[in-house]
Structure formats: structure tokens, C-alpha cells
Amino acid sequence: MRGEVLLTIRDLRIEGRSGDTWSEIVKGVDLTLHKGEVLGLIGESGAGKSTLGLAAMGFARDGCRISGGTIDFDGIDLRKASEGERRALRGKRIAYVAQSAAASFNPAHKLIDQYCEGPVVHGVMARDKAAADAVELYRRMRLPNPDEIGFRYPHQVSGGQLQRAMTAMAMACRPDLIIFDEPTTALDVTTQIEVLAAIRDIVRQFGTAAIYITHDLAVVAQMADRIKVLLRGVEVEEADTRSMLAAPREDYTRSLWAVRSFARPEQSQATGTPVVSVRNITAGYGTVDVLKNVSFDIHARRTVAVVGESGSGKSTTARVITGLLPPREGEVLFENKPLPPSFKARSREQLRQCQMIYQMADTALNPKLRLRELIGRPAQMYLGLKGRALEERVRELLAMIELEPDRFIDRLPGELSGGQKQRIGIARALAAEPKLIICDEVTSALDQIVQEGILKLLDRLQSELDLAYMFITHDLATVKAIADEVVVMQSGLVVEKGPKSEMFRPPNEPYTDLLLSSVPEMDPDWLTRLLASRSGQA
């Protein structure tokens, strides 16, 4: 089934600038892609997947440069070609679909105008023809209201729809090759399925070759004919999708599998007074109620996972507990005593007991403070530590989160990796010696291997320090791994709650089942089967 060769990359080397020096981020990678073939590129962040994908367009991001090797696209040497020649290829014969469609659509223009820009500028179609074509492709991408949706601005369209519109846009000039750069990573699981299906269909319909970049093996398994695994700019292995899934050759590849297998045993049953009780909370912004009559308890040494898709009210619940958003009705009890609704009215001791870890470690750590102060500050504030004692405590905390105190204590957050930053977030929470830690999507921005490390660390700390966790996530794999109890939320309502063991055993509420069934599985036929079964039900 392989056609002729479309893209050949040999010994590609790409350098990136960090500070004032250049270092290699892609270190001699080879790649061959045939017409109509889909190649999956998989690896953790920093593996050089995106950089390699862009290099296939002859493009290097600002601060990067292609320093060696050849890129041959259908007989054109992209490294030797002039910028004008490369520009003529981009968008016309090689197209790109970015990770975040919301950020990659220009907020100032309507979708259809952005669609038409490529064909018109590249001289492929006249504007009116392109517009008609856009409606056709929107229809094929199964977008609702294909006739009308193009006349909306990006912010008026949901994330999953935008991602499909972007794929349609990439198809506008009927390119030979499309680079998909993590197109579904930012989407909720239920949405992800629709997008994956739409992408797969359209690529097959047009026989377009594609490079599909992702960190999620289960996703790539549905999409790719072949898979190439990258690690720190070097190829680990490459094989047919089925053979790779069946028998990975390298340890590293196997370790990618292993992540999914982490699960801790469920803790003993909840006993005693809960650390925090949420009682009939109704809350919202302006006149809109985001939470409606939400109640649940969190006990010491137990992890309550709050699950739901974006907009379900998970994070708002956390804001009510921390006092950032005083509820309209209901109350929050701490060890059976009501907490003042606003954090401003809470005592320092009450503030100390409940700490928070944020999803984006980048924005949660003040980039201008050194770890010494970042971690030390809560200890200094709440526990009155000073001088040597404080320094000792910071070192102890760093050791607790498995970072060498001597090497890290004087670093700035910018000098850390994503996983390390998240660990600092944990250490900062621990420094207050709280009873409850709210973890708001703490692992969703991280690579799977790193995620596992963080989850294990949280697990260990819980048993050592008798902590209660409230774990907000949309990722059911994480829930499976760490939760004792699960609270499923949808549109501000608690749909279902109960121990994990019950939750993962269908049948449940329909919504819970929908969520559960949407989690991709490591089986190349999973998507096909799922779609078939759903259409069968329908």
C-alpha cells in the first residue's frame, strides 16, 4: 500500500538558543514518509517532535536554526530552496495544524476569511470558490451549521470545533502533507473522539500524507500507520503501529506503556470527622450559577477526585473551598466548624490548613523569586521560622520532593523543568503543614512519565503526612491511579459520587459511562470499534 516517497529527511540537526549559547535539540534524525502515509511522532516534551515536524516544512522557530542534514520534499531540497520557494510550498503543499486552535486562529478575522487566505494568496482558487469549498470541508469535518460557522470569529466557536475548522483550513489547498502537532491535547476526552474521527476520515478521503505528533500513545495508535519514538532529539525506534504496540523493542518505549499501569490500592474506608465538608454549595459569578447544590466530604489520608469536563465547575468548587469565591448558599466546614466564606475573613491558621497546587506551574510560581524564598515563605509566615531553622526546613522540603537542596535552593523557577516546577508547587504547599491540599489539574500539563513521578510523590507524602487531597482532573487515567473517592461533575451539578471501585464498574450514570468509554485505549482498533458501537446505539 505504500506509494512513492514524499518526504525524506536525513541526519537532520537543529539547534536552539538558550540564553546566549546554541545547543542541539534535534540530533541527527532520519525520516521517510510515503504519499498517503500517516507517521506518528511520539515522545515527551523536549524530545524535539514539534521542531522536527516544523522542519519538515523547512521552518525553524525563532531562536532555532537548522544546522545540518537534508530535507527533501518531493524532489525539492528545502534547505537549499530560497525563502520565497519555501513560502510557496507552505500552506499549499505542506500544511500545519497546531496544538491550540484557539490560539492559532487569528482572533481578528472570521474563520472563513482565514480559510480563504491560503488558497487566494497561493493562487489556487478565487475567493468565492474558496468560500464554497470551505463550507464543503466544514461539512466533511462534521462541523455543525457548516454554512454559517465560517462567519464566526474564533472566540465564538468551541475548542473541538475550532480544531476541526483548523484541519479543514489545512486541507484548503489540498496539500500533499499535513503536520498535526498535538491537535487534540487541549481537548476534553469526549470532544477528542469527534476530532480524532474527523481528522482520520478526511486524511483518508484525500489520501493526504500526515505526520501526527503527540505524546499520547493511545491516540497515535488510532491515527498512524507507523510510529517513530523520539527521546531528547534522538530516534529511539520506529515500527509499524501494530508491531510497536504488540512488541516494543526498547526499554524507553516500554516505559511509556508502563505509566498507564500505575495505580495505588484504595485506602481504607473513610472514618471520623471529615477534614473538609462542602455543604449544599451554590455559587457563581454575576447572575450565573456555576455551582448548584454541591456537597461532598474529604477525609484525612484520603484522595477525593473531582472529575468533569471543562466548564463543569470543578475549579469553581476549589475557589469556594479556598474562600476566593464566597458561595451564595451553603457552607464549607473545616473539621465540622464553618469557615468564613471569604478568605479575607479567615485566620492565618485557617488559611494554613488548606493549601493549593495549581495546574500551570509556570504561572503559579513567581518567576522572580528563588526557591529558597518561594518555599520558605509559608514556613516563615505560618510557623515563624527564621534564619538557620528556615533554611533547614527549606532543604528538608526540597529533599522531600526529591530535588537536591544544594543544587536547587538558589534557582529561579525559569531554570526548572515543568515537572520540577510542579514539585516546587507541592513543596510550597507542604511548607505550610496543611491538612488539605487541593490539586487543580496538577499533572495535566506534564508528560506521562513526569506525571507518574508527581503522582507517586503525592501518594508517598499522603501516607507520610496524613494529608487529605482534593484532586481536580479531567483525566480518568489519573483518577484511576490515585483516587479513593470520585465526584463526577457536569454543568455545576454533582452527577455521581462514590468510592473509586464502584465508579469504574459500569453501569453508572450515562454521563459517567460516556466519560469512561471516551478514554483512548492502547488498541489500534479502539476508535473504530467505539464509533461503531456508538452509532449502533444511536
Partner: protein
């Protein structure tokens, strides 16, 4: 044609100065800064060289100047010849000496004023952004109102009311300038207060002062520093303008702004004398902004 040649010569000289400075800084700087200096653009190197020269001149003015600051050494408007290398001014004082002392006085006062404006403006601006609500609205509307009064006329009113000592001069210009800084600082801080680490600090129960000083200010520095470069230059201009009104720095203190004013009429006749102090101001402005641009570029994570 002559003008073009002069411009080319000046640019060549500036590049050479920048190059020499960079080469020297790169070799003399402590190890961990070596790279910073080696990769600095020539414009920034030139800027730093100029600033360094100004600082040295300002510090060692009495040593460098051939005559005393206010000494009348001869006739008026003597030509450029030894011992008066740049001639004499309208009262027969040595121009070079006046320029050298002017560096000390003008730069010192301009720096103090700008710094004060920034301290007051940015603290209030950040404070308002953190506080939000009606306090922010009230303060911001008031500052808006002050900004709607033309700066020069407002300064004139204030200085006439409060007198014209150097201290009042600094306070008044700083007050007028602080409104502009306030506006910038507030808008920058509004972008920062929505960050999770600010939320974290608030939830921790941090006080206002620490929020401003440790959490927000360090992160708002880049745009503030950029603004500092321009504001610094506007302060020179404000002092120069006030010298017109007889409200600037008092004679016989040498000050570039006043010197420009004193000799301004001569430019009508194509005389270069008034260009000297004006040039000194312009050179410093350009130099400061070159360095600021470079620092911004570095701070922006070398995205370009």
C-alpha cells in the same frame, strides 16, 4: 553634503566606541558576565560606553574641568581655541567646564526626579491594581483628571505656588510624571494580579506591602524600565522648558537645559554653540534607550 559626512563620521565613531567598549568589557568583566557582554549589540555597547563616560564625567567634574564652574574667564562667545577648547558662553565662562559640570547637575537631578516618579507612580499604580474596586476607580479617575491638565501648565502652577528650590523642582516634576508612571504600572500590574502566584500569595494571607514589593514589582520591572528610559529624557526636556519660565535650575549652577535655552537664539544664525548641551542631552537619551532596548530584548527571553 557636509551634514551627511558629519553624520557618517559620527555613526562610524559611535560604532568604534561601542566596539572598543564591548571588547574591553568582555575581557574585563567577571567570568559569568563575559557572555552577556560578548553578545551585546554594538548599539547597546555604545550606549553603555556613553553612560559610563557621563557617570565618570559627573563624578570627577572638578578634576576634569579646566576651570571653576562659575568662573568668568574671558570675553563672551570666544571661538574654539586653547585654552577654551569649546569657546566661552554668553558671560565669558568656559563652555567645556560648564558642560562638564552640567553633566553632574543635570543628570543627577533628572535621575533623582525620574527615580522618585517611578517609586511613587509604580507603588501607587500597583497598589490600585491589587486593591481593585472603588479605591482603584477613585484613584485612577483622580489621576486621569490630573493627566488631563497639560503637564507644563500644571508644573508652572505648582512651581509658582511652592517656590523653585531644587527640591521643589524635583518634587513637582516627579509628581507630574508619576501620574504617567501610575497609569503604566497599573495596567502592567493588572496583567500580573490575575496570575496564580498572586492568588497563592493572597490565599497565604500576605500583606499588601509584600504583594507589591516581592510578588508584583519584580515582574513588572521590564515595561517599567523601558518607560524609565523615555521618562528620563522627558525630565530633561521638562527642566529645559521650565528654565524658560525662570523656574528651572537656578544659576549659576550649570545645567544643560538652561544652557540650551540661554543660547537657543544663536541657532537661528547657524551657530553650533547651543547644539553642544542639546547634543549632550540627546546623546544620553539615545544611549539610555539603547541599553534599555537591549535589556528588554534580553528580558523578553530572546524571542526574536
Amino acid at each position: 553634503m557636509k551634514v551627511l559626512l558629519v553624520v557618517i563620521a559620527a555613526v562610524a565613531f559611535a560604532l568604534a566606541l561601542g566596539w572598543v567598549f564591548r571588547a574591553a568589557a568582555w575581557r574585563l568583566a567577571p567570568k559569568r558576565h563575559t557572555l552577556v557582554f560578548r553578545d551585546m549589540p554594538l548599539t547597546a555597547a555604545f550606549g553603555m560606553a556613553v553612560i559610563l563616560i557621563y557617570v565618570v564625567v559627573a563624578l570627577f567634574a572638578p578634576v576634569l574641568a579646566p576651570f571653576a564652574e562659575r568662573e568668568v574667564v574671558g570675553g563672551q562667545y570666544l571661538p574654539w581655541a586653547a585654552p577654551y577648547l569649546l569657546g566661552t558662553d554668553n558671560l565669558g565662562r568656559d563652555m567645556l567646564t560648564r558642560l562638564i559640570y552640567g553633566a553632574r547637575n543635570t543628570v543627577g537631578i533628572a535621575f533623582a526626579t525620574t527615580a522618585l516618579a517611578f517609586v511613587v507612580g509604580s507603588i501607587l499604580g500597583i497598589w490600585a491594581a491589587v486593591l481593585g474596586g472603588w479605591a482603584d476607580q477613585a484613584l485612577s479617575r483622580f489621576v486621569d483628571a490630573l493627566m488631563a491638565i497639560p503637564a507644563l501648565i500644571f508644573s508652572l502652577l505648582l512651581l509658582t505656588i511652592f517656590g523653585t528650590s531644587i527640591t521643589t523642582l524635583i518634587l513637582v516634576i516627579a509628581a507630574v510624571d508619576a501620574t504617567r508612571v501610575y497609569r503604566l504600572a497599573r495596567s502592567v500590574a493588572q496583567g500580573i494580579v490575575v496570575m496564580d502566584y498572586i492568588e497563592a500569595a493572597r490565599l497565604r494571607g500576605e500583606g499588601m506591602w509584600r504583594l507589591i514589593r516581592r510578588e508584583i514589582l519584580p515582574n513588572a520591572m521590564a515595561p517599567l524600565v523601558a518607560e524609565f528610559g523615555l521618562r528620563f529624557c522627558f525630565v530633561f526636556l521638562a527642566i529645559s522648558a521650565l528654565s524658560f519660565l525662570g523656574l528651572g535650575i537656578k544659576p549659576p549652577t550649570a545645567d544643560w537645559g538652561s544652557m540650551v535655552r540661554e543660547n537657543a537664539t544663536l541657532i537661528t544664525f547657524g551657530d553650533v554653540t547651543p547644539l553642544l548641551p542639546a547634543g549632550a542631552i540627546a546623546l544620553l537619551t539615545v544611549a539610555v534607550n539603547f541599553v534599555v532596548d537591549w535589556q528588554l530584548h534580553r528580558a523578553s527571553g530572546l524571542k526574536e
